[in-house]
């Protein structure tokens, strides 16, 4: 028995691609709508319907593959045959032995290089809701309802090699993959909402042995925390089994919130999927020119973004936060447009954990930071304006043009509605005239003569009394730094 064990993990990550329509049908690929309203004959598997491949889905898959240093190869769709009510044709169209992307890698920040075995396109299934069982569980259900809105949504399944050796590394891999997907606009990649789904193949081996032992596939990992905990739990389970002279069984297990993995019962014939080439689709063979076009259209990737953020003075952790929020393009863009790098990074880290932040325009963010650094807005005001900019960006995205929240439906009015200076004006954040501030400072000195004496005697911390008074008088809108400067001027005069 080996003295120490190492963890061996390979991850299979399914991501929903951010297309407007489904993989093989022109039905809208959209969630949250009434059941069975985003379906065509193809999504329902109606007799006589035929699939046609979505070019955009292929291009997104190619872009992800290129970002993961994969080879883009000719590929063929196969049918994977099995019965399930939420599979409208009772087969899934998927790439089998000829995936579009193969043999790449992903560098985990601060960690090692994880091999990518393949990434392939396939269609998602619909959604089954079990009726009558406790908590919508299968057990005890009296029936089920099926909604095919999700059926046919394009999925890219990204399969890593078993190169991951810890829960932390698995988590970092998924985070980095997510950042890449966000940077490419390939997916919104939300684990909690299921637009990114992670299955972990977990085994253990004696440290340094290099062997591959029996693995278990763990599903239902809805957060990075679940992923980490499941890996640690499952690895411990394997180690305990080996320690007891037993061996794990190769199987699929389900992570549940009780902090354990559970075996899934499977049917005897479940494995015989009878793959064969999908005759309704023709082979996919991207040529070099197309691949080059996709590559040329790719935005900057997270690793490069982090390096540039670092050059802007961002700490590694802050850079990671900014990249993780998908804010690197807007932050770097604002800095390129002349905004103060430190202030921009600080805003992004402290004030932009918000919906709509990724919608911000780099030039507008730069304008905002400039308003602040030039003293026209205080830090507090700048934050308020920033929050408003994000909120309006979200509203502008969701509102149909005709019913937008804007005072006018003209484009220039829309642009004005997002302009930081205009928002500041709307909120009454006019930069205070110097003489107004001076009057307020003088009033504060007059109101606290004892404190003023102490301040003049060199007790710098008493300044807070006057700054507080001015802030109170201006309901927090005064620039604290300007007040401090005025106090010093009065003292030294």
């Amino acid at each position: 028995m080996a003295a120490s064990w190492e963890i061996v993990v390979g991850l299979e990550v399914h991501v929903e691609l951010a297309t407007d329509t489904k993989l093989f049908s022109a039905a809208p690929s959209r969630f949250g709508d009434e059941p069975n309203t985003n379906v065509t004959p193809v999504c329902l598997g109606l007799p006589g319907s035929l699939p046609v491949l979505n070019r955009r889905a292929v291009e997104l898959a190619m872009a992800v593959g290129l970002a993961l240093n994969c080879e883009i190869r000719p590929s063929v769709f196969h049918r994977k045959n099995y019965f399930y009510p939420d599979m409208p044709k009772d087969y899934q169209v998927s790439q089998y032995d000829q995936p579009i992307c193969s043999d790449g890698w992903l560098d985990v920040p601060g960690g090692s290089r994880i091999g990518i075995e393949r990434a392939h396109l396939e269609e998602d299934a619909g959604k089954t809701t079990h009726l009558g069982g406790a908590d919508g569980r299968i057990h005890g259900a009296v029936g089920a309802l099926v909604d095919y809105n999700r059926a046919g949504t394009p999925l890219l399944e990204i399969v890593s090699r078993p190169d991951i050796d810890s829960a932390a590394e698995a988590s970092a891999y998924v985070e980095e993959l997510r950042a890449i997907l966000l940077a490419l606009g390939a997916s919104d990649a939300r684990l909690e909402e299921g637009s990114m789904r992670v299955d972990a193949n977990i085994s253990v081996r004696p440290a340094g042995s290099g062997e591959l032992r029996t693995r278990c596939e763990v599903k239902n990992l809805n957060s990075l925390r679940s992923l980490r905990n499941a890996i640690d739990y499952e690895a411990r389970r394997h180690i305990d089994l080996y320690a007891a002279g037993d061996v794990p069984v190769q199987e699929t297990r389900h992570w549940s919130e009780d902090g354990r993995t559970h075996s899934l019962r499977s049917k005897e014939e479940a494995d015989d999927y009878r793959y064969f080439p999908e005759p309704d689709l023709v082979p996919l063979a991207p040529d070099d020119e197309w691949i080059a076009q996709v590559r040329a259209a790719m935005p900057e990737l997270p690793a490069s973004q982090r390096a540039r953020l670092h050059e802007c003075g961002a700490e590694a952790e802050d850079a990671q936060v900014i990249v993780g929020r998908g804010l690197a393009p807007v932050v770097l863009g604002a800095v390129d447009a002349g905004a103060d790098a430190k202030r921009t990074v600080t805003h992004a880290v402290q004030n932009l954990a918000l919906d709509g932040a990724e919608l911000l325009d780099a030039d507008r963010l730069a304008s905002l930071v400039n308003l602040e650094t030039s003293g026209q807005l205080t830090a507090t005001q700048a934050k308020t304006v920033l929050v408003e900019m994000c909120a309006r960006s979200v509203a502008a995205l969701h509102a149909a043009p005709a019913e937008a929240d804007f005072p006018s439906d003209s484009a220039s009015a829309a642009a004005r509605a997002l302009d930081p200076a205009a928002i500041a004006a709307e909120l009454g954040f006019e930069a205070m005239a110097d003489h107004e501030l001076e009057a307020l400072v003088d009033q504060a000195i007059a109101d606290s003569p004892e404190a003023w004496e102490k301040f003049c005697a060199g007790e710098a911390k008493v300044a807070g009394v006057f700054v507080g008074a001015v802030m109170k008088a201006t309901r927090g809108q005064a620039d604290g730094q300007a007040v401090t400067q005025l106090l010093a001027q009065r003292r030294d005069a």
Binding site: P28, E34, Y84, I138, L145, S266, V282, P283
Partner: protein, 126 residues
């Protein structure tokens, strides 16, 4: 011209004998009742034991005939999946109008709450 495209290596197999002869051979080798029962489960078709016998005979006769392929050396011949060699057929990512849900659910054996209703789903469960 004629005969010129005849593959030299291709072997010619004698035609089968009488159906009775073929039947007696297939019972031994082509497909068993257990295999037919397994295939019926995979294909989700309920069969009685008599029907399994019946289909074992039917499938056996066809598979017995398929044995003629055993004699063909096809190692150098790639498989052909599509009769016409098209590549890269796509659709633009532009949504179309979905079908009317009521039209579709009207044709469903059972529906409720805008969804297709089925008996309980057993199978994979923790």
């Amino acid at each position: 011209m004629s005969g010129a495209n005849k593959s030299e290596k291709r072997q010619v197999r004698q035609q089968e004998g009488s159906p009775t002869h073929a039947a007696s051979r297939e019972e031994v080798t082509a497909i068993s009742t257990d295999q037919v029962a397994h295939v019926a489960r995979l294909a989700r078709i309920e069969l009685t034991p008599d029907e399994i016998e019946h289909y074992t005979g039917h499938l056996g006769r066809v598979l017995e005939h398929a044995r003629e392929l055993e004699d063909l050396d096809l190692a150098d011949v790639p498989p052909l999946a599509h009769p016409y060699p098209l590549r890269n057929v796509f659709r633009d990512d532009v949504p179309s109008t979905p079908v009317d849900r009521d039209d579709v659910l009207e044709q469903a054996p059972a529906a409720s709450s805008g969804q297709f209703e089925v008996p309980p789903v057993l199978g994979e469960e923790v």
